[in-house]
């Protein structure tokens, strides 16, 4: 009949190493000053949790943990950090009144729940073992599928509803209405030429190996300078440099056929 075995050395090692790293990640997340560093620490925690799931014969859950949390949710966090400005530091002023008390209460509640769950699990009521549980439906994934589409069908559909809310909410909050229909490539090119824009490549900036090259205007064959050879951002920032009058006289002399 069933024979009780202790976790082997490998499992024990995995538990202590990954468990430790997960805790380190969680602490790092709280302690870090930079938001991006916090996001990285929490990614470390997620990956270690995934390894623990896999070590406990739940490979699908482990992979999903990485794909969804590390891959998608944390990536959303990173994107949000960049959207609002990567290095903006957290404001330490509490905007929601009594949030510390609420956080404390929720933390205590979570602890009670975890301890209760763990206690129920350790009392060993009705355990059949991980391998037997996985083998019951022909595999880990098949077992999950059977549960998802029978006992947990309501939760499954509710997830769908939750996702709709999230998607539509994100859409509504970030949407920018277009006033004009977007121009196609053809219309853009037509606009460019009918308004008398520059048809070809603009002249490249003057390269004198003296400054940062692109901020110096090109000299045209007759010795005059071309303002459009300087990139527009530099012109807007007033970063364009003047060029040496001697250069111009030299060019003019050369074009008029004089030898140096």
């Amino acid at each position: 009949m069933n024979e009780v075995i202790e976790p082997n050395l490998g499992e024990t090692l995995v538990f202590w190493i990954c468990g430790g790293l997960a805790v380190v990640g969680a602490l790092g997340m709280v302690i870090s000053r930079k938001a991006v560093h916090s996001a990285l620490w929490i990614a470390l925690t997620m990956i270690n949790l995934a390894i623990l799931y896999v070590a406990n014969s739940a490979p699908f859950l482990g992979m999903v943990q990485v794909v969804v949390y590390t891959g998608a949710v944390m990536m959303l966090f990173l994107f949000v950090l960049m959207v609002v400005g990567v290095d903006s530091s957290d404001s330490l002023i509490e905007t929601i009144k009594g949030q510390r008390v609420a956080a404390l209460l929720l933390g205590v509640g979570l602890t009670i729940m975890l301890v209760a769950g763990l206690g129920a699990g350790l009392s060993g009521a009705g355990t059949i073992g991980l391998d037997a549980a996985n083998a019951a439906d022909g595999g880990n994934v098949q077992g999950l599928a059977r549960l998802m589409f029978s006992d947990y069908i309501i939760a499954f559909q509710a997830t769908g509803a939750l996702l709709i809310t999230a998607a539509v909410g994100a859409m509504v909050l970030t949407h920018r209405e277009y006033w004009q229909p977007r121009k196609s490539q053809r219309e853009l090119s037509q606009d460019r030429f009918t308004d008398g824009g520059h048809p070809g490549n603009k002249p490249s900036p003057g390269v004198y190996a003296r400054h940062n090259a692109v901020d110096t205007p090109a000299l045209l064959p007759d010795g005059s300078t071309s303002a459009i050879s300087i990139p527009a951002p530099l012109r807007a920032r007033d970063d364009a440099r003047a060029i040496d009058v001697n250069d111009i006289t030299n060019v003019r002399r050369l074009t008029e056929g004089e030898s140096e």
């Binding site: 959303l76 400005g85 059977r146 996702l163 539509v168 994100a170 949407h175 090259a213």
Partner: protein
């Protein structure tokens, strides 16, 4: 028995070869699958994943070694312009406070990614166990996908999927 967490399978459970498998493949594969898998017992998670760990250590070691060795072998000639951010030769653009802001579009893309990612995660077990789930599984998934199609179509129609 009370404190048990790990229990070895009773023998018959392991030996039960699903008949579906036998119809796949020619004689050679069938024979091999039979002679190796079922007699060996359940998967030992640690052994199956050890090769990944070893490959990971090799790869990490290689990458770390490359980075360290490059600091030793490469020359070091300091130059103020060299350590500036590279912007094709012009003075680096002054960064606004907070490192600059990005189009909120990226946020929307990431949100859509999460939604489709979760959809994928539900689709996979459904696909693997499709034959066992039968019509009910199909209808449940159809309803789920229809639910997710609603925001997708809404977003599409309002121009949320346009990039410019």
């Amino acid at each position: 028995m009370e404190s048990s967490r790990f229990i070895v399978l009773p023998a018959p459970l392991i030996h039960e070869a699903p008949e579906h498998y036998a119809c796949i493949g020619r004689e050679g594969f069938h024979k091999r699958a039979k002679s190796f898998s079922y007699e060996q017992g359940a998967i030992d998670p640690v052994n199956v994943y050890t090769p990944i760990l070893i490959l990971g250590i090799l790869a990490f070691g290689f990458a770390a070694f490359s980075i360290i060795i490059a600091t030793l072998t490469g020359p070091k000639r300091y130059n103020r312009a060299k350590v500036d951010a590279y912007e094709c030769g012009i003075e680096p653009t002054p960064q606004p406070m907070g490192g600059g802001r990005f189009p909120v579009k990226y946020y929307l893309t990431a949100m859509m990614f999460i939604i489709f990612d979760i959809e994928l995660v539900f689709l996979y077990p459904w696909a693997v166990a499709f034959d066992q789930l039968e019509l009910f599984g199909f209808l449940a998934m159809a309803l789920f996908l229809f639910n997710l199609a609603v925001p997708f179509v809404y977003e599409w129609r309002r121009g949320g999927l346009e990039w410019d």
